[in-house]
């Protein structure tokens, strides 16, 4: 008898959705002591599956058909109270967003103790809580137990969540994208932790993810979901290396292969040179407690015409700040930002204006980077118009650009919310290109996108760069992506560039320990996606 068995599960979507069912007739099982990865892109219904098992679905998403049996009992038939008793005791869950998943007003220890208490074993909370925190490799458990969530880092919070989940040694752990919000290094640690605990206790784990790297890292078996259906499932090795279903194949094909292309050195004149640029943030004013953060320092680099430099690093490493310094969105205290020799840093808003045409930027969040209240056409034409191009002309150009980014020119008069993430990102790119820039700064342009879309956008960028001979500063946290698109990479840590060089070399022979650590942390680095 399997630990968890889901058969023919169908969950309805509220009417007016793009499809009638969120999840349609899916069946799978999780055995004790194995990790089943449910992988799929956003909207594939993987999270809903997880929540359905916990019976945490919102009212809007009723289960229409199917059975979920856990340790032989039919969960769907269970009374709410009985179900509650199972939750946290026999089956536990951890979520994607560690930052918001903990009650901000409650001490971490109390939140863990709460699990024990509500399941009647609150007596030994005092003893168990530190144990549990230690078990998830948190330093100084006593102190952590006493502190409030906002004092902990994302990784630490996720560990706390895990500790909480494991408090009563459940038979089944459901992990809903538990590492997506974390930095690579942390992600690796968490993955290892889950792996280790699971094997030590012989739990069954239902692991939801969108990242094949992660799958390769920890999965025993895989179920691939598309549009609410499981299109393929089987042993991890099988599916990863010999995918059968076209969708699976497409997905795996889309995974950046990480193998750095070995391009010839670019010896053209430098377009952009940064020297001793420093940016320090001081938080808190007259009445607030002061806090000083050195966001950028020791981050010199130069960028030659036609070259693509990748700024890689984890969140908070200062890569975005550095990029924003270049376009004066952030104003550094000192240093020179030489563009073709002229220092842009001291320039006034007005004096900067001419350079706006030459230096453009593509942003990370496709949902936040377009003004929801203007049509796509206006958005793209806006730049040139501001710089004196007649409106009609700018609009014509916008049409061409839409074609260039592979969008239907009919999109001109529609509003951003009518487009998908990938399409919006294309619009964003078109907006930047409308200025016919020489230097394009791309700030995590693909990290908010699904793998398949990600691949398309990356190709688009590569293509455009080739066609227009753009020089690009490419910011990313994803080393695979960097490897695929950048000629050179600069690795940033705590505001400083610790290592830079040709992509191939850096990846092959990292000098700085941190670079090594980063590379080690690439999930599933042991696995090279098969060429399909």
């Amino acid at each position: 008898m399997s630990l968890l068995r889901v058969e023919g599960l169908t969950v309805a979507l509220p009417s007016g959705g793009d499809r009638p069912h969120a999840v349609e007739d899916i069946s799978f099982s999780v055995e004790a002591g194995e990790i089943l990865c449910v992988v799929g892109e956003s909207g594939s219904g993987k999270s809903i599956t997880a929540n359905a098992v916990m019976r945490l679905l919102p009212k809007g998403l009723p289960v229409r058909a199917g059975a979920i049996s856990f340790e032989g009992t039919d969960l769907l038939a269970l009374a709410p109270e009985a179900m509650r008793r199972l939750r946290g005791q026999r089956m536990a869950m951890i979520f994607q967003e560690p930052m918001t998943a903990l009650n901000p007003l409650m001490r971490v220890g109390d939140q863990i103790a709460e699990v024990l208490r509500v399941h009647g074993s609150g007596a030994d909370a005092a003893r168990r809580v530190p144990e549990l925190l230690a078990a998830v490799n948190l330093p100084d458990p006593a102190a952590i137990a006493r502190s409030h969530p906002f004092r902990l880092s994302g990784g630490q919070r996720q560990r706390v969540m895990i500790a909480m989940a494991l408090a009563l040694e459940p038979a089944l752990l459901i992990a809903d994208e538990p590492t997506t919000a974390l930095d690579v290094t942390t992600q690796m640690q968490i993955l290892r932790l889950i792996r280790e605990i699971q094997s030590r206790r012989g739990m069954g784990v239902l692991f939801i993810t969108h990242d094949f790297g992660v799958v390769a890292e920890i999965a025993d078996r895989v179920a691939v979901m598309q549009h609410g259906r499981i299109v393929e499932q089987g042993l991890a090795a099988e599916v990863l290396n010999r995918p059968q279903h076209p969708y699976t194949r497409a997905l795996i094909a889309a995974v950046p292969h990480g193998a750095a292309p070995d391009r010839a050195d670019i010896t053209a004149a430098p377009v952009l040179e940064l020297r001793q640029v420093e940016k320090t943030y001081r938080r808190g004013g007259l009445f607030g407690a002061r806090a000083v953060v050195r966001a950028v320092h020791d981050a010199d680099f130069s960028l030659r015409r036609g070259e693509t430099l990748g700024l890689v690093g984890e969140s908070g490493s200062g890569k975005s700040t550095l990029a924003r310094c270049v376009v004066k969105l952030v104003e550094p205290e000192r240093g020179t930002i030489a563009y073709h020799g002229t220092d842009l840093r001291p320039l006034s808003r007005a004096a900067w204006k001419p350079y706006r045409r030459r230096i453009q930027m593509v942003f990370q969040d496709p949902y936040a980077s377009l003004n929801p209240r203007r049509t796509v056409g206006e958005t793209i034409a806006e730049g040139p118009v501001t710089h004196g191009v007649p409106r009609a002309k700018a609009l014509d150009r916008a049409r061409d650009l839409l074609r260039l980014v592979q969008l239907d020119p009919g999109a001109m008069d529609r509003y951003p919310h009518e487009f998908s993430g990938g399409q919006r990102q294309r619009i964003g790119i078109a907006r930047a290109l409308a200025m016919e820039p020489e230097l394009l700064i791309a700030d995590e342009p693909v990290s908010a996108l699904d793998v398949s879309v990600q691949a398309q956008v990356l190709d688009l960028l590569a293509d455009i760069r080739a066609r227009l001979g753009l020089t690009m500063l490419f910011i990313t946290h994803d080393l695979r992506v960097a490897a695929q698109i950048c000629d050179r990479v600069a690795v940033m840590q705590r505001g400083a560039i610790v290592e830079q060089g040709r992509t191939a070399e850096v990846f092959a022979a990292p000098q700085h320990p941190y670079t090594r650590q980063l590379l080690d942390s690439i999930p599933g680095r042991g696995w090279t996606p098969p060429a399909l």
Binding site: K328, L329, R349, K353, F363, A368, R374, E382, T386, R431
Partner: protein
């Protein structure tokens, strides 16, 4: 626009509110036709109860028609509400925009200023202002505006603050747009919906404030307002309950309507909240 109306319709209360509000406006518009002449005219015997001698809602201590008073009063109450709200918006939006967009010291200064205004008991301040500038519609509007702009400033500031950090605004910066252009074309349009919602509520509270002032005898003596009616009916409440009850009801309905409309608007303008509010309200 169409789906705005669709979302708005979903809130039954809001629709009801809109209907009431429209009726009140209609009454205000047609007052001179419904009740020709001045609402101050002594049209019947003093203190004749509702229904008697053709006085729908009775007469007051001078035999003036209460119904006429209410109809004509609607115009003033709505006018005061609208005008003072506009004035308050003007100040509040400007200051809020400055604080939110420029941030830093400008923000500090403006916010201290706003806090300061919120600390003074606003009604007391209103009374004081009206008294200083002697009761007249001008001083009343002024006083109401002065005490009701701070919330606007706060809301607008918050909106601007969050929008300023949004990527599409940064994109506009990178495109080299001027500050003014960014504020007007990028930020303001996206900050509008909370302002709209707020202002509908402000009109409501302005009407309440006006009535309170008139009630204390600080209204414009030449204008018939609901507050005045209650004020004059208050002391004779046991002799002629209708004098203060009906205007009170009028105020209640109008303010209620405005609040309902406000909720409807916020439902329609940000659906997320609408879901939260659920079927309630």
């Amino acid at each position: 626009m169409k789906d705005f109306w669709r979302r708005y319709r979903r809130n039954k209360g809001a629709v009801l509110g809109l209907v009431i509000l429209l009726l009140v406006m209609l009454m205000a518009a047609t007052a001179p036709l419904l009740f020709p002449g001045s609402p101050w005219d002594m049209a019947g015997a003093p203190f004749s109860p509702p229904g008697e001698m053709g006085m729908l809602l009775g007469t007051d201590s001078l035999g003036r028609d209460v119904a006429a008073g209410i109809a004509h009063g609607a115009r003033i109450s709505l006018l005061v509400g609208a005008v003072s709200t506009l004035a308050a918006l003007l100040v509040g939006v400007t200051l809020g925009a400055i604080a939110g967009y420029l941030g830093g010291i400008a923000d500090d200064v403006v916010m201290r200023f706003t806090e300061f205004f919120q600390t003074i008991p606003s009604f007391v301040l209103a009374i004081l202002l009206v008294a200083i500038f002697t009761p007249s519609i001008g001083s009343v509007v002024f006083a109401i505006a002065v005490v009701s702009w701070p919330p606007v400033a706060r809301v607008v500031r918050a909106e601007f603050l969050s929008l300023r950090g949004r990527e599409f605004v940064q994109a506009a910066e990178v495109l080299g747009k001027s500050r003014l252009a960014i504020v007007v074309t990028d930020i303001l349009p996206n900050a509008l919906s909370p302002i709209v919602v707020l202002s509908s509520l402000m009109v409501a509270s302005a009407i309440l404030l006006e009535s309170a002032l008139s009630f204390l005898g600080l209204g414009d003596p030449n204008l018939m307002t609901w507050g005045f009616l209650i004020g004059s009916g208050r002391s004779v409440i046991r002799l002629a309950w209708w004098m203060s009850v009906f205007p009170g009801v009028a105020i209640f309905l109008t303010v209620l309507a405005l609040n309902l409309v406000g909720e409807g608007l916020s439902d329609a303008l940000n659906p997320r909240l609408a879901r939260q509010r659920g079927a309630g309200a």
